[in-house]
Symmetry: C2
Subunit: 161 residues, 2 copies
């Protein structure tokens, strides 16, 4: 047993679980982004975006998954954990991933508007901060991105903001 | 009545409340950082760092104050709110401040290790993100910083890490 997915197949398997979480967010009327955290080959936390549902600006999928995983482990250090999320993390979430000492990050499409892992910032690989994260982007980027673009198209059609 | 502190005296008054929160964190054995959020001249949320207390890597004072203020307002948008915190926010917290649409940020000393407002990054004034924050740093920097340096000195003396 390995302590993290060791290849692309394992990364895709985790991303499929994150996608299932994203669909739950969509069903609840929130922006469809999902995340899971695995350790020692087991999923220990799963969450989806709840910003609108909970009226909480910090309730991104990654933050909720990190908090859930810390409850499971009983420590704020998520050493040896892999986080998979269906969109490149924003500055808040990339910052939280570094603070939580996540070992490996797997994400779907890049986020040109707020991506803080590879696009606008590179928070997970900044030598000035006290932790670096192994990053694999672009995993199942097409279905992850399609879920988001379909959601926003429907929102526009419905005249919502 | 103004909707935010209009001068240095008001900023210092909010920071004294944030300092009182920081002392509560210290009394509970956590790193002494505190935050308050005010709107329309009234304090609507106050919180202190609980990372160790709650074993939650996201439980920084700013995040907890933002979540509390959103519960009070019933909206993820903290429009017109001022946040005062006893240390320059890290990337996670600066990102959350932008996401929450906080209008004004007041902070104590700069953080050379992780400051993401003016020091390592300038997340609150990045035109590529969808919100900018009015920032006033260095408010009561001396007592805020002393609380932290005294705490870490005692930790080192006690041989804790």
């Amino acid at each position: 047993m390995t302590d993290a997915p060791s290849d692309n197949d394992d990364a895709a398997a985790l991303m499929r679980l994150a996608l299932a979480q994203a669909r739950l967010a969509e069903a609840a009327g929130d922006v469809p982004i999902g995340a899971v955290i695995a350790r020692d080959g087991k999923v220990i936390a799963a969450a989806h975006n709840r910003r609108i549902i909970d009226a909480d600006p910090t309730a991104h999928a990654e933050i909720l998954a990190i908090r859930a995983a810390a409850r499971v482990i009983g420590d704020w250090r998520l050493t040896g954990c892999t986080l998979a999320v269906t969109l490149e993390p924003c500055p808040m979430c990339a910052g939280a991933i570094v603070l939580a000492r996540i070992e490996r990050l797997i994400y779907g499409p890049a986020d040109p508007k707020a991506g803080a892992v590879d696009t606008l910032y590179r928070l997970c690989s900044d030598d000035r901060l006290n932790h670096r994260v192994e990053v694999m982007g672009g995993v199942l980027a097409e279905p992850c991105g399609r879920l988001l673009s379909d959601f926003f198209r429907r929102q526009r059609q419905a005249g919502k903001r």
